[in-house]
């Protein structure tokens, strides 16, 4: 996946100011930065929920800038949205089935896969999602994303508002998903947790990429703290 010179504004307010980045196949790539930097706007442009003012999005070599979101899902790009957006009044199983809408042939295999990844979801498959804890709901959201059998899984703030213990458990699961051969694009504020598993990182501040490179290189760069805290 590749993004070139993306620009986006909400009305008169410019949020993305020429963002370019690349997600290498098989990698865990992170987009990190403080709130208000433009992270969610960026992923929503990548996933097709927003259409950029200018610039382009490429996926597997094809220009997809103006394709609707469902076409992108069909091509193997799936978004786990910020704040989960689950079907809260439905059961875990129904949510997972909905995720397999474009992968009906692979439904059973996909179920087996996500249940091995998140055994708690198999135990609770008949539970209504709204009665579950935040951490479990986030697992459902990630699992629903996997049900479409994506080659690229994009997750927008999957750690937001979760307890520290759940956060480290989820981070380990992301690593496992990567080992299953999926490419992962992880968008987060929580720098230190994501830094444990990422291969590449882009630091975004005020609608621009201010730093990018391998995990090693980014972790030791003082610019990261400056992007978050201004000093």
């Amino acid at each position: 996946m590749k993004v070139e010179n993306l620009e986006y504004s909400y009305g008169k307010i410019k949020v993305l100011r020429g963002v370019s980045l690349e997600v290498k196949k098989g990698s865990i790539t992170a987009i990190l930065g403080p709130n208000g930097a433009g992270k969610s706007t960026l992923v929503n442009n990548i996933a097709g929920l927003l259409t950029p003012e200018s610039g382009d999005v490429y996926f597997n070599g094809k220009r997809i800038t103006h394709l609707p979101p469902e076409e992108r899902v069909r091509m193997g790009m799936v978004l786990v949205p910020e704040r989960r957006r689950l079907f809260e009044h439905l059961t875990v199983l129904d949510n997972l089935k909905a995720g397999a809408y474009l992968n009906r042939g692979g439904l059973n295999d996909a179920l087996k896969q996500v249940f091995s990844l998140f055994p708690i979801l198999e135990e609770r498959k008949n539970q209504v999602v709204s009665t579950m804890s935040g951490g479990q709901q986030q697992m459902v959201a990630v699992a629903r994303g996997l049900m479409a059998n994506p080659s690229l899984l994009i997750m927008d703030e999957p750690l937001l508002g979760l307890q520290p213990t759940i956060v480290s458990e989820l981070v380990k699961n992301f690593k496992k998903i990567s080992e299953m051969g999926k490419t992962i694009l992880l968008v987060e504020q929580n720098f230190y947790q994501v830094a444990k598993i990422m291969d590449y990182a882009y630091i975004i501040e005020h609608g621009q990429i201010v730093l990018s490179g391998s995990a090693q290189k980014v972790k030791s760069n003082p610019k990261v703290k400056k992007a978050y805290l201004g000093i």
Partner: protein
């Protein structure tokens, strides 16, 4: 020196959701104070309580010796507190100048002399650099000018304390530089105390005398920008746990 604004144990809940859980804050006269914190920390809610848009559930807000939390919005404005809004709220259907005049007429020093109010409103527009657009309808302004107008309208009320809610949002790096200089000039020229809620960290850390961090409904840290940026709790609230 006695603080010009004292917020004591202020609480606010919306339904079962406790947004402010005992906020204590003191701001000195003439200070530029940054108010930062993660999304949803309650920064705008605190502004809404100080300016009387919502009423507090518990605590006290004392400004210049007066209990603001017992006053109505227009009384708070006339007591000397003006604010801008994150989503700018100019009076639509009026020109830039008319917007500022209305602040002049109905603000702190109510000036029911339209000619005088107009003259003074024009001076304020000169100060914010909008005099060339005085007769333009507000609907056609670009974002930078809308922010200038927000500030002009606040200044028109002759405040002693001005609350700036994300006035830098959506501005380019160059526009932010201009805006920051302008905020400093405003403090000098009008002797006003400033509290600014801001997400553009470089800017707020650069301009503030002191910064307060709101997290989980409480002020977790107040200090000089450098001190705040080194505070462990602050780093954790922004970047996660190491």
């Amino acid at each position: 020196m006695a603080p010009i604004l004292r917020v004591e144990g202020v609480k606010k809940r919306f339904g079962g959701n406790v947004v402010l859980d005992g906020v204590d804050l003191e701001v000195e006269k003439g200070e530029i104070r940054g108010l930062i914190g993660p999304n949803g920390a309650g920064k705008t809610t605190l502004f809404n309580l100080i300016s009387g848009i919502y009423s507090i559930d518990d605590g006290k807000i004392i400004f210049d010796g007066k209990r603001l939390d017992k006053m109505k919005q227009h009384e708070i404005c006339r007591a000397g507190v003006a604010r801008t809004f994150q989503i700018a709220k100019p009076i639509l259907g009026m020109t830039v100048l008319q917007n500022v005049i209305s602040g002049r007429i109905f603000g702190a020093r109510q000036i029911f002399n339209v000619e005088k109010a107009t003259r003074e409103a024009m001076d304020i527009l000169k100060f914010v650099g909008l005099e060339g657009k005085a007769s333009v309808p507000v609907e056609s302004l670009a974002i930078g000018d809308i922010r200038r107008l927000e500030i002009a309208r606040a200044i028109a009320c002759e405040p002693k304390l001005i609350l700036l809610d994300e006035v830098l949002a959506g501005l380019s790096v160059q526009e932010i530089e201009v805006a920051l200089k302008f905020i400093e000039e405003m403090r000098e020229k009008f002797g006003v105390t400033v509290i600014m809620v801001e997400h553009v960290m470089r800017a707020v850390m650069g301009i503030s005398d002191r910064v307060s961090v709101l997290h989980n409904g409480k002020i977790i840290c107040t200090g000089k920008p450098k001190e705040v940026a080194c505070n462990k709790q602050v780093i954790e609230s922004y970047m996660g746990r190491e």
